[in-house]
């Protein structure tokens, strides 16, 4: 029995390096202005899928929704061993909240009919952990969140260990199923040099169009389209085309996509500045420290 896995991944801004300049006026994030990385726990999900393929056979398809530049994480997935990469990109996806995102992704997953869908538990930009369970609901499959270890897999059932922080559970479910994977599950493999050499030319249609435009800014739209079509055909022959899907190809109902499909809206964004109301400097001497301790006892903070 072989298993077909779909791994849902996200390209995220490296939140350790965010500044206020990266925010748009409406409070959404200007992703183009930030260094973008493969969401860390999505790498753990990919690793689990690759291990399933290594052990049982089958396939690993990696899928993301994002701007054309998100093809970069798909390439990184191909370097690590994914068989197929799909980019869902469409202007009408913009401003999707978790509900709209999960609807769009679930439309994509439905076309592939996998046995197991895997995602990282959460993405480091939003930390919501919502898209996984919401996708599972939209696909009509059970979700198992916080997965740390795959214990058993056979033609009909899967047994995994969940790590809930304050303990663990071993749970069993029938396939198909959606798993969200945590960072302690495994050590994601690095890109394989051979695959890197083979797949580094992999690209999606929008990326190719952008490259052609950059190389010849005078080209007309028709010329760009024609050149891109030829290049895509070449890549496809070599199995290096990152498939690009839009909402029409997904037969998505537009009322559930993008801004219209998103019940949550941003009211306000504030930068974080925390300050103490009253502040005293204390010299690093025994007498000053004694005085501070004395003050804390007098005002009943201590004792």
């Amino acid at each position: 029995m072989v298993y077909h896995c779909v791994v849902l991944v996200k390209q995220v801004p490296d939140t350790k390096r965010i500044t206020g300049q990266a925010m748009n006026e409406d409070g959404t994030v200007n992703r183009a202005a930030l260094p973008a990385i493969f969401n860390p726990e999505d790498l753990n999900a990919l690793e689990m899928a690759l291990q399933i393929k290594d052990k049982f056979g089958g396939s690993v398809t990696i899928m993301t929704m994002g701007l054309p530049v998100a093809a970069d994480v798909l390439r990184q997935g191909l370097f690590r061993g994914a068989d197929r990469a799909i980019l869902i990109t469409d202007r009408r996806c913009a401003a999707s909240d978790t509900l709209a995102t999960s609807y769009i992704l679930s439309c994509g997953v439905k076309k592939l009919n996998p046995d197991i869908v895997l995602c990282g538990r959460q993405a480091i930009d939003g930390d919501t952990a919502q898209v996984g369970p919401q996708c599972a609901e939209k696909l009509g499959v059970p979700q198992i969140t916080y997965v740390e270890q795959l214990l058993k897999l056979n033609s009909k059932i899967i047994v995994v260990k969940r790590n809930l922080g304050n303990g663990w559970q071993e749970v069993k479910a029938k396939l198909p199923v959606l798993l969200t994977v945590i960072d302690s599950a495994n050590e994601p493999r690095v890109a394989c040099a051979k695959r890197l050499m083979k797949c580094k030319a992999a690209a999606g249609t929008s990326e190719i169009e952008q490259q052609i435009r950059a190389a010849d800014p005078t080209a007309s739209d028709e010329q760009v389209k024609a050149a891109a079509k030829a290049k895509c055909a070449q890549l496809k022959q070599k199995d290096l085309l990152i498939e690009q899907w839009d909402l029409d190809m997904l037969n998505a109902d537009l009322q559930w996509c993008g801004r219209d499909g998103s019940p949550t809206k941003v009211h306000r964004i504030q930068s974080v500045v925390l300050t103490a109301k009253e502040s005293k400097s204390v010299e690093p001497t025994q007498s000053a420290v004694d005085a501070m301790i004395h003050e804390l006892i007098i005002d009943h903070t201590l004792g």
């Binding site: 939140t15 350790k16 965010i18 500044t19 206020g20 925010m23 994030v29 909240d97 978790t98 509900l99 480091i124 930009d125 930390d127 952990a129 919502q130 369970p133 919401q134 599972a136 609901e137 059970p142 979700q143 198992i144 969140t145 809930l164 304050n166 303990g167 663990w168 559970q169 071993e170 749970v171 069993k172 479910a173 559930w256 019940p263 949550t264 809206k265 941003v266 009211h267 306000r268 964004i269 504030q270 930068s271 974080v272 500045v273 925390l274 103490a276 502040s279 005293k280 400097s281 204390v282 690093p284 001497t285 025994q286 420290v289 004694d290 501070m292 301790i293 804390l296 903070t301 201590l302």
Partner: protein, 347 residues
């Protein structure tokens, strides 16, 4: 989704396991009470389980006006599918305007599944909730008495206020430890509304084969004093200073994520956005620079002492007492000072 219903109640999912309600939803009851009073509507707890009627009474003591009680043998253990089915039914039947969940592992598993079924909004991991007015400047539309769902985002670098003005109920999960636990009042009584539950084995998609609950090694939330060390402490051996000072103060040792990652102390001691949120009477930050993610977990402390040799450390913006100096000298001074005080008191 349900229509906007300004008369709708404010609900809290009273998550229980093995006959005990989790702390986070109980903490949430104080905020839900406040929101319901502002909106002049009732506050209700939603309790699912098997043989949990006693807990319903207790939820009244914690401030609920009503408890919706759904009991069934198949609800004995939490799982997303069956619990979501029941709560979806209740939401459509009673049309609450707000539904809140603790951001516990189960709450974060359940709430998005429900949001997806109902096609309503959900904001994760809120640190505050308020009632406020939203205006869309372009159209001049004004929405009053909305739930402001306030949460850190982008690794804690920003605070976002999220709203949902048309696809109700307004739903949020709320982080552990950010709301004060209400004081139980044994005289308060909630109206208990018993719901009929129809479930079959096919509603249970998951089978729990085994379960192991681990007690945390330290209860940071219950500590009046926390002495926390960061990467600046330097080594696991040197972290003994933190333990010693905590011991002298009758407090608990805490740590930053960096210190935990470096192996200085167990993860149970981690304070911050990915650890525990604390609000002690006194927080002593030793060798902590004060990353925003750490500040998010301790800025509610009543008094903060910061010890760091870098005068530019962000933690000093937060500190009531700033000590710029070598922690290896200052911490022993504090220990000495406290020991002498104790000796004096004994004499």
């Amino acid at each position: 989704m349900i229509d906007v219903n300004k008369q709708g109640e404010v609900w809290v999912f009273a998550e229980q396991h093995h006959g005990k309600v989790e702390d986070t939803p109980l903490e949430l009851m104080s905020k839900a009470r406040e929101l319901a009073d502002t909106l002049k509507v009732k506050m209700a707890a939603v309790l699912l389980g098997d043989n949990v009627k006693e807990l319903a009474v207790k939820l009244g003591h914690f401030g609920a006006d009503k408890v919706y009680l759904a009991e069934h043998p198949l609800l004995v253990h939490y799982q997303a599918g069956s619990y979501a089915k029941i709560i979806d039914g209740l939401v459509h039947k009673y049309k609450p305007q707000i539904v809140l969940y603790g951001a516990t592992p189960a709450g974060r598993d359940l709430a998005p599944r429900i949001a997806s079924i109902i096609k309503a909004g959900l904001t994760a991991d809120c640190t505050d909730l308020q009632i406020g007015t939203h205006e869309i400047k372009k159209t001049g539309e004004v929405y009053e008495n909305l739930l402001f769902q306030i949460r850190p985002a982008f690794g804690g670098n920003i605070i976002a206020t999220i709203i949902n003005y048309d696809r109700w109920p307004q739903m949020a999960t709320v982080r552990e430890g950010v709301m004060p636990m209400p004081i139980a009042d044994g005289r308060r009584k909630a109206e208990i509304v018993v719901e009929k539950v129809q479930l079959t084995q096919t509603d249970l998609a998951i089978e729990i084969l085994s379960e192991h609950v681990q007690q945390k090694k330290v209860n940071l939330k219950a500590s009046r004093v926390i002495v926390a060390g960061g990467a600046g402490v330097g080594s696991k051996d040197n972290f003994k200073l933190i333990w010693d000072l905590a011991h002298c103060l009758g407090g608990a040792p805490g740590a930053t994520r960096a210190a935990v990652d470096l192996g200085f102390i167990d993860r149970d001691h981690q304070v911050g956005q990915t650890g525990t949120t604390v609000r002690p009477s006194l927080y002593v930050a030793v060798g902590i620079s004060g990353a925003i993610q750490h500040q998010a977990g301790m800025s509610g402390s009543q008094k903060i002492i910061a010890i760091n040799n870098d005068p530019e450390a962000p933690i000093f913006n937060l500190a009531h007492y700033k000590i710029i100096g070598d922690l290896n000298q200052v911490v022993p001074m504090m220990i000495k000072s406290l020991r002498e005080k104790t000796i004096k008191e004994k004499n």
